[in-house]
């Protein structure tokens, strides 16, 4: 069964678009929406001063939340190509797109190094 988006959402702007980028965008939006709830439940689940049954209940609720609301599902993607492998976080670019742009002098301050 392919992944179906349970809600409608805006596509990301100024970014290379493909299916995986859209899926990642969806996860980012969902994480943003549920961040407070997740952290509150985690706080209750890990607070040793609270009764064990309340903590267990919080843990169960946390586990029953959909996977796409979890931060660990978000992956950095290249802004220019949508690739997720060897993305350089300083520029949000994949190594090949980074190299092309750097060679053309499009990234401020970046030059070919030789020493």
């Amino acid at each position: 069964m392919p992944f179906r988006f349970p809600v409608k959402f805006d596509l990301p702007q100024h970014v290379h678009i493909n299916a995986r980028v859209i899926r990642d965008q969806f996860k980012r939006l969902q994480y943003n929406e549920h961040e407070v709830t997740r952290n509150a439940l985690r706080y209750i689940a890990r607070n040793t001063e609270l009764p064990a049954r309340a903590r267990l209940e919080a843990q169960l609720q946390l586990a029953s939340m959909p996977k796409y609301t979890s931060y660990s599902q978000i992956r950095d993607r290249c802004v220019a190509s949508g690739n997720s492998k060897s993305v350089i976080p300083d520029f949000k670019l994949n190594r090949t797109t980074f190299r092309e742009r750097a060679r053309h002098g499009l990234i401020p301050g970046v030059k070919v190094a030789s020493w």
Binding site: V36, T37, N39, A40, L41, Y43, I44, L50, P51, R53, A54, E57, A58, K85, S86, I88, D90, R95, T96, F98, R99, A102, I107, P108, G109, V110, K111, V112, A113, S114
Partner: protein, 258 residues
């Protein structure tokens, strides 16, 4: 009639000195013994103003355009005008005022990828400091940062050949001394207003406290200090959510039973 500006904060007397207390602290207005004195003063001021206006209208309008220049009046063939003094002065190093007390007041830092832009920004700061009467040191170099990026040269994943790139970030700073906090604020806001794009400005400000600062802190009443109370901060969305959850039906049942 150029003496009209003599009441301003800057005064030229051998070395340029500066005090911002002139207008701020001495109350500004002088007191008059009789109303006649005040009337007389107003009359002389009005006469001076009238004289100045006439000067502008007749004498100053008829005078030739003769700007002072350092290199002589070389006329630019394109613009058919000599280079004005203020433009020409940009080619010389900025002048610093001497320290009066040596109390460090601010350190202004510049970060950027372009050396020439950095020196432009730094010299602008130094010049504006000079005309505001803030003693400074020269524009100094701080450590240059190089961030290295090594990438595989070909798009193929298993390729061995790599290429190195680096991003060089240059750092410069200006140290300012002996200025009042208001003047430092004025200086910084002026620099901020005319900030150059692509340069990161940051400032460290220093204040002086008395030797009894520690005892002053100790003597503070309990009402003067408000320590953040744990879990009572309802501005925190997570804290309010925790409260909401614990008061909900499912959790309140579990909490009661214990």
């Amino acid at each position: 009639m150029l003496g009209r500006l003599s009441g301003s904060a800057l005064c030229v007397r051998g070395i340029r000195t500066f005090s911002s207390s002139v207008a701020v602290l001495s109350g500004g207005q002088r007191k008059f013994q009789t109303p006649q004195e005040f009337v007389q003063l107003k009359a002389t001021e009005a006469a001076q103003d009238q004289q100045f206006k006439e000067h502008l209208l007749h004498e100053a309008a008829n005078t030739e355009y003769k700007p002072k220049t350092i290199r002589g009046n070389d006329i630019n063939p394109v613009s058919k005008r000599p280079v004005p003094l203020n433009v020409e002065l940009l080619q010389y190093e900025p002048i610093q005022l001497p320290k009066t007390h040596g109390h460090k007041v601010a350190v202004l830092k510049f970060r950027g990828y372009d050396k020439s832009e950095l020196s432009r920004a730094g010299e602008f700061a130094l010049r504006s400091a000079f005309f505001l009467g803030i003693p400074t040191l020269k524009l100094a170099n701080a450590k240059t940062e190089k961030r290295l990026y090594t990438v595989i040269k070909s798009p193929f994943a298993q390729a061995k050949l790599k290429q190195n790139f680096h991003r060089v970030t240059y750092n410069r700073y200006v140290v300012a001394y002996d200025a009042n906090p208001e003047i430092v604020d004025l200086w910084l806001s002026y620099i901020n207003k005319h900030a150059i794009e692509g340069i990161n400005y940051s400032a460290e400000l220093y204040t002086q406290e008395g030797l009894d600062y520690a005892t002053q802190l100790e003597n503070l009443a309990l009402t003067d200090m408000a320590l953040p109370e744990a879990y009572a901060d309802l501005d925190d969305p997570i804290a309010s959510k925790v409260e909401e959850l614990l008061q909900s039906q499912t959790f309140s049942k579990l909490l009661e039973k214990e």
